[in-house]
């Protein structure tokens, strides 16, 4: 599991991913860790199959015993099916996750960890150096979904928004936005169901000061690429990736993708 520091100040952000031990048939994921003087916070910790790689990677960056908080942006297995394992490794921790998914996520096994349901409007989490914000991102793509904004590090952890499907070993950051677009297009058109939800989210996110946008799959965006992403996403029609027989053009486009 590769790990990089993406912010270093009074607190630190790390990204974990491009796991060389990952089984071939499962999607590659980015996991994030915020270390803040004994209050460590693990974001979208990943699936069951990622756990054995994540554990030593996290331990290399912080004291596992001091991982006090977990976050699940939504309910997908690649996000949080490792919950039952973290429940054994860090039984004292709290999980911040959508209130909507509590009864569902507990199927992964949550006997020791305390589930804190994030309300629809979002909430904040106080770490020693920063007040993190859980920003609503409902229907992007899950009906109960949040992103995490750090106003000090100016990082937006954006879950599946900004995700790209890439071959193994891709670099951590986008270096050529135009070249990156085809790797994101089908994913966003298919997985994101609602233009209205998308536009609401864009309006909300444009008000944030963001240096790095950090999705759960593929590369991270920094600097001007964040704005380029928002503009591109705004123009993209989503929720229409299933071709209809009465719309032959849609079928053609689908085949081209």
């Amino acid at each position: 599991m590769i790990h990089h520091e993406i912010y270093g100040g009074r607190h630190h952000w790390f990204v974990f991913g491009r796991d060389p031990d990952k089984l071939g048939h499962i999607i590659d994921t980015n996991q994030y860790l915020v270390c803040d003087r004994g209050a460590n916070f693990l974001l979208d910790p990943g699936g069951i199959e990622t756990f054995s790689s994540m554990l030593p990677a996290v331990a290399a960056r912080c004291d596992i015993a001091e991982v006090k908080y977990l976050f699940a942006s939504h309910q997908d297995p690649d996000i949080i099916s490792s919950l039952g394992l973290w429940d054994k490794a860090i039984p004292h921790a709290k999980l911040y996750a959508p209130w909507l998914w509590e009864g569902f996520l507990k199927h992964f096994g949550c006997h020791n960890i305390e589930y804190v349901g994030i309300p629809d409007e979002g909430m904040t989490l106080d770490l020693p150096s920063v007040k993190l914000q859980f920003v609503p991102a409902h229907y992007l793509h899950s009906s109960g979904n949040y992103h995490v904004y750090d106003p000090v590090a100016k990082i937006l952890m954006s879950g599946d928004v900004g995700a790209a499907l890439e071959p193994p070993g891709a670099p951590m950051f986008v270096d050529d936005f135009a070249e990156h677009v085809p790797k994101m297009e089908l994913f966003h058109r298919r997985w994101m169901p609602s233009n209205r939800a998308k536009n609401d989210w864009i309006a909300r996110v444009r008000q944030l000061d963001i240096d790095v946008m950090a999705p759960q799959h593929g590369r991270l965006f920094r600097g001007d690429d964040v704005k380029r992403f928002l503009d591109w996403f705004e123009a993209l029609e989503v929720g229409i990736a299933i071709p209809r027989e009465d719309e032959p053009e849609a079928l053609d486009e689908q085949e081209a993708a």
């Binding site: 756990f51 994540m54 554990l55 030593p56 290399a60 004291d63 596992i64 039952g84 490794a89 096994g109």
Partner: protein, 202 residues
């Protein structure tokens, strides 16, 4: 029924489910025994004095049918509890395995994780011992059902002797004895297969 009995599932959960399915069959046979006992009672009542020796036998057979059903219900409940325990054991075993894999790659040893792994191993051990206990108790219950079936066959032999002095009612009473005998033999066969399945699990 035969198709299920002859299947040889290798998986623990499937074996237990198969046992439960077989025992549902046993329950139905036990119902049949109670019905046969009721019939025998009716015949004995009509036969009057000539079948007086038959009455305690029918009472016994009736009681046996009821007891077999009670035992089958207990086996079902215990089997459910055992499956829950086995699931917990499997989950704990998997967690332990994944924890060990992760710990093997640590840059330096973590006393904290050592402690977690130790606790988990103990929990796993306890779960596996509890599965063994459940399995033993299930096997004991099955032995008890077999004992009942054996007693029923002995009773059906006694019934035949009593039937010989029942005059006109001899044939009816003999047929009751045959029904009980066949049912008991069938129960014994099915339960034997269940015991074999559970033994291969233990």
């Amino acid at each position: 029924m035969t198709a299920i009995v002859d299947a040889q599932p290798k998986d623990l959960f499937a074996s237990t489910a198969t046992v439960v399915a077989h025992l549902e069959g046993v329950r139905q046979i036990a119902n049949g025994i109670s019905l046969a006992a009721a019939n025998a009672k009716a015949v004995a009542a009509r036969a009057g004095n000539r079948a007086s020796g038959f009455v305690p036998i029918t009472n016994f057979i009736d009681e046996m049918g009821r007891e077999t059903r009670r035992l089958v219900d207990r086996v079902n409940q215990d089997a459910q509890r055992m499956v829950r325990g086995m699931l917990a054991e499997q989950r704990l075993g998997d967690a332990l395995d994944r924890l060990h894999k992760g710990m093997a790659r640590l840059e330096e040893r973590s006393a904290y994780l050592d402690g977690i792994a130790r606790d988990l191993a103990q929990e796993h051990q306890a779960a596996s011992e509890s599965t063994k206990r459940h399995l033993d108790s299930l096997c004991e219950l099955l032995v008890t059902i077999t004992d009942h079936a054996r007693a029923a066959r002995m009773m059906s032999t006694r019934s035949r002797v009593e039937a010989t002095i029942a005059g006109d009612y001899q044939t009816s009473l003999e047929s009751v004895a045959d029904t009980v005998d066949n049912a008991a033999e069938h129960i014994r066969d099915v339960v034997m297969k269940c015991r074999v399945l559970l033994r291969t699990m233990g």
